[in-house]
Symmetry: C2
Subunit: 122 residues, 2 copies
Amino acid sequence: MQEHEHDRCEEQCIHPEVIESVRREMLGAVPADELAQLFKVLGDNTRIRILDALFRSELCVCDLTTLLGMNQSAVSHQLRVLRDARIVKSKKQGKNVLYSLDDEHISELVRMGSEHVRELRR
Amino acid sequence: MQEHEHDRCEEQCIHPEVIESVRREMLGAVPADELAQLFKVLGDNTRIRILDALFRSELCVCDLTTLLGMNQSAVSHQLRVLRDARIVKSKKQGKNVLYSLDDEHISELVRMGSEHVRELRR
DNA sequence: TTTATATATGAACAACCATTCATATGATAA
DNA sequence: TTATCATATGAATGGTTGTTCATATATAAA
């Protein structure tokens, strides 16, 4: 068992009431985890490019492979991550599988994120 | 040099014009990278909880350490990641360093993400 | 049936990342 | 000055993750 008394700031920091009020309002462990998981899925260059492409049009894996200029296997693996997160959906059409965005929240998130990034550049 | 002809679907997939039009509209490599980087920073449980806490109130490192119930060093390392991404800002006050959100876009992103996660749960 | 095409997936590997430990820096108090 | 407190940081480490390769599955055409 370890003593952590020295890890805590007693009177030097902001008053304990602030800490308590923040603690009451804070996100629970589960929602925070799910939120972080959502952003983690969005936090990859390949997946962002896939979503950006699907935002313009429904596309099959082969189209995405061409557009991204990368391995078909890599694209499929990332599509699976997006499918598992219910960010994209797929439907079979003959030999192909057509992918599209599953949720309008996601395009909004990408739009807002882009705006933020653009403003940071100024 | 490798032949990738067999990686491309010729006539079976969606027409080439669709691919061309999507290619013209798509995000450039640099914006896509920056966007993915932003989401990557948001895609961590500890950092989300830090942002959620700072959304409620300006706090010092010590307060955050108490609120998150984790190592001071770990909190400081994550604060650095958030500072580098210009998501939080800091100001010195005596022995303490007070952190706060640097941008209102971020709280909007967190709010929208939370909403999405909540709806997925239904 | 056999052949070709589109997609999915498991395993392996390299690169990345969050945390911990130890220590350094910087500020206040004595 | 010295001692103490709050924060920052470098190095090491264990765990995660994106890509590649090889292969499996599934559909369509011959």
